[in-house]
Point group: C2
Chain length 142, copies 2
Amino acid sequence: MQPVMPIGKLARAAGLAPSAIRYYEKAGLLPRPVRQSGQRRYGAQTAARLRIIRLARAAGFTIAETRTFLSGFSPATTPAARWRTLAGRKLAELEAQAQRIARMRQLLESSFHCGCLRIEDCERAIAACEVKDPRRSVSARK
Amino acid sequence: MQPVMPIGKLARAAGLAPSAIRYYEKAGLLPRPVRQSGQRRYGAQTAARLRIIRLARAAGFTIAETRTFLSGFSPATTPAARWRTLAGRKLAELEAQAQRIARMRQLLESSFHCGCLRIEDCERAIAACEVKDPRRSVSARK
DNA sequence: ATACGAGTTAAAGTGCGCTTTAAGTCAAGC
DNA sequence: GCTTGACTTAAAGCGCACTTTAACTCGTAT
């Protein structure tokens, strides 16, 4: 039960679906594991690696960024240094996202305080509260 | 040039691609416009409506929500009341997003302060800073 | 006449992170 | 011998908001 877990057990242990683990393998986050009659067998180190992956994902890193963290640096680069590099960029992205959220909040709270009875009436009044950047929106998370 | 703009002109005026305008029409955000020999002709009111759509999108509403705002209420419901209803929900979503961002920020700043030389070494150390919710992540905007 | 630019359509493509499906293999229990 | 459950693969599907493509039609300028 220690060095030879099948994928289902590993998945339960990690709180993931087996398909996600296979996907991570294909994506280069996990090495090809040993096999017994065609089936993957995992040791405790893979469970540990999945915990790291989960941490990275929870911190907002994409699969590609997580792969970079795991294997995209010179082997001499320490985990701490890798994390600093990637976290710096990610924090900037999060800052941008936070600002977009703040802007949306502002729009949600400040718009349509008009007394128009029909939308066609507002259509003229809106002109003032013009939006600068027509692109981008967010919301919708699984 | 006032009540009979072709789609290209409208698109430029609104800062959108013609394909987006056709898409909005198919999605039910815009009414089918008058046509001249098969081609769409728009008046100033459509430009105004596009400004409203842009505002709604910038505020974080999805296409479906925007359609609800425009035509999903009883005609007697004022724009202000419609907006209040939808904005309330959206603000709650934004609050949730903001919290996720805060959590990601925290993880980014607090993780991997270990002195491990290789990731395999951290794999044991990580166990402590366990993540609660294995699902969900964000980042990556067009 | 004919080339050009702008319009038309339906259908497929994009990005991301998986999940789902279909069709098959394998070992263990009855 | 046969069912059951867990595994295998490659490929397709999902959600969202558009964009891109391919093949075609217009009116206008040369």
